[in-house]
């Protein structure tokens, strides 16, 4: 029993290794890219369009709408990063129904990588939007006394992002594996369904939190940023 798909190594040469996390991630990349390419190669601009196009449009416009509701003024500018975060995590979590599949999000390396991307993206968008001075000024709000706490918050939320997603996905897979040994048939199926729900919720939480962090860095939120949702209660 593996605690992380990183432990499943297909090929290794010194520091360089090819583990299940990377391989399944490539598989997801291939599926998402080919699927998107196949659907978007026959896009219709008229009122008559295919169901798959409708499906993708619903997803994309839904993501844009969610980003806008967080408070970002130009949601399409952040669609590439935040939308890909959601799609990657959601696809990785949904594929857990495939037997033998190990979700890359169950690897702390993957979640750390994603959290690092967010950690870099937040100041990137903040500086791009209001300059370095403006971005750094956000650490002094509401008062300069809050500067160390803001820095700690910046670091801790990155860690929280990584650990939250990893914990949820790893624990889900672990629970299913344990329950398979106790109650082989019915209960693991229910837990798998619950794991799908949990995976989607985690994808949503990760993306929304990233959006909230970016919006806070931009300082253009129209309404008060809702307090970041707590890590999903462990089922």
């Amino acid at each position: 029993m593996h605690l992380s798909p990183d432990e499943i190594i297909f090929w290794q040469y010194g520091f360089v290794k090819l583990n299940a996390t990377i391989v399944y991630t490539w598989g997801l990349l291939l599926v998402l890219t080919v699927g998107a390419k196949l659907i978007t190669c026959q896009l219709s601009t008229s009122l008559q369009r295919s169901r798959w196009q409708n499906f993708l449009e619903i997803i994309v416009t839904g993501i844009v709408q969610q980003i806008a509701e967080v408070g970002l003024r130009h949601p399409k500018n952040y669609l590439g990063f935040l939308g890909t975060l959601f799609l990657f995590i959601a696809a990785a979590n949904l594929c857990t129904v495939i037997p033998g599949y190990e979700p890359p999000t169950g690897s702390l390396s993957t979640t750390v990588a994603l959290a690092l991307c967010v950690f870099v993206a937040v100041p990137w968008f903040g500086i791009e939007n209001q300059g370095l001075r403006g971005y750094l000024k956000t650490f002094l709000e509401p008062t300069w006394i809050m500067l160390p706490f803001n820095i700690i918050s910046e670091l801790s939320r990155t860690l929280a992002l990584a650990v939250r997603l990893f914990g949820n996905m790893m624990s889900g897979a672990m629970i299913i594996a344990i329950l398979l040994t106790i109650t082989p048939f019915l209960f693991p199926i229910v837990m798998t369904l619950l794991g799908l729900l949990t995976g989607m919720v985690q994808a949503y939480i990760f993306s929304i939190l990233a959006a909230v962090y970016i919006a806070a860095a931009l300082g253009d939120r129209k309404r008060k940023t809702p307090s970041p949702p707590l890590p999903a209660a462990k089922t």
Binding site: V16, I22, T25, T40, L43, R49, L85, S107, A113, L114
Partner: protein, 268 residues
């Protein structure tokens, strides 16, 4: 150690690669298609709004034209009714006038025909009556009668006085031609002498006489000179009688057609 930093780096690269691929193959085409569709819908809505405005404008124009047409139609209908009524009145008046004219013409024609008929009857009656009278008197006229007529003429000639006699004497004296003495039959010589003598004595002058036989006198004598005339004959009586009858005939016909004699209404 749960974190494999090589895997972290690889996953970071994988994620960034996925971001690029998604932008390239998903978000950009989808958003572009949505934008184009929204633009098309906006254009169609704009075109529809323009067409709607145009349709509304045309509808308003149609309504206005329809209203104007209705008013014009009503006016023309009213005008046509008025014209028809005027034409009817004119035609009725003309027909009435024509009928009156025709009736008057017919009445006049009937009256004229009646008058002509009465005139014809009267003239034929007069002619027949006087023809019978003349024929009878002519048949009765003999020498003795002519002599009596000659004596009677001489007596009336001698009885002339005053203005009539003076005018005749003046005419006899100034006449360049002989006085004309007409008789119904040829007078005997003795009577001619007696008449010449009576004329000379009456006008105290030698008046040359020319004796002419004129059967239309029926019976009697007539002396005419230079436009003046003195005569006595039965024809005079007949002429007087004819005039009296002619004057009486219209009145005499009246009782046959009308209770009250009226010459004008008689011919109608």
């Amino acid at each position: 150690m749960l974190i494999d930093w090589f895997t972290v780096g690889a996953q970071t690269l994988n994620f960034l690669l996925l971001v690029g691929l998604m932008k390239r193959f998903l978000y950009r085409p989808i958003l572009q298609a949505i934008d184009e569709r929204e633009k098309r819908i906006a254009a169609e809505l704009s075109a529809a709004a323009a067409k709607m405005a145009q349709a509304q404008q045309q509808y308003n124009e149609f309504q206005h034209n329809n209203q104007v047409f209705g008013q014009e139609r009503a006016q023309r209908l009213q005008q046509a009714v008025a014209d028809a009524e005027a034409e009817r009145q004119r035609l009725m008046t003309a027909a009435r006038q024509a009928a009156d004219t025709l009736s008057a013409q017919r009445l006049e024609s009937l009256r004229s025909e009646a008058q002509n008929l009465h005139q014809t009857i009267r003239q034929r009656t007069q002619q027949e009556v006087f023809a019978i009278a003349r024929k009878t008197l002519a048949d009765l006229a003999e020498t003795g009668l002519e002599e009596r007529l000659g004596e009677l003429f001489i007596r009336r000639l001698r009885a002339l006085e005053g203005q009539d006699k003076a005018v005749l004497a003046q005419a006899c004296q100034s006449a360049a031609e002989p006085a004309l003495l007409r008789s119904a039959v040829a007078l005997p010589e003795a009577q001619r002498v007696a008449l010449q003598q009576a004329v000379n004595e009456t006008f105290s002058a030698q008046v040359p006489l020319q004796f002419v036989t004129a059967p239309d006198l029926v019976s009697g004598l007539e002396l005419s000179v230079n436009g003046q005339k003195v005569a006595w004959s039965i024809d005079d009586y007949l002429t007087s009688l004819e005039q009296a009858v002619a004057a009486l005939l219209p009145n005499a016909d009246a009782p046959e057609t009308q209770p009250q004699p009226n010459a004008n209404e008689q011919g109608s």
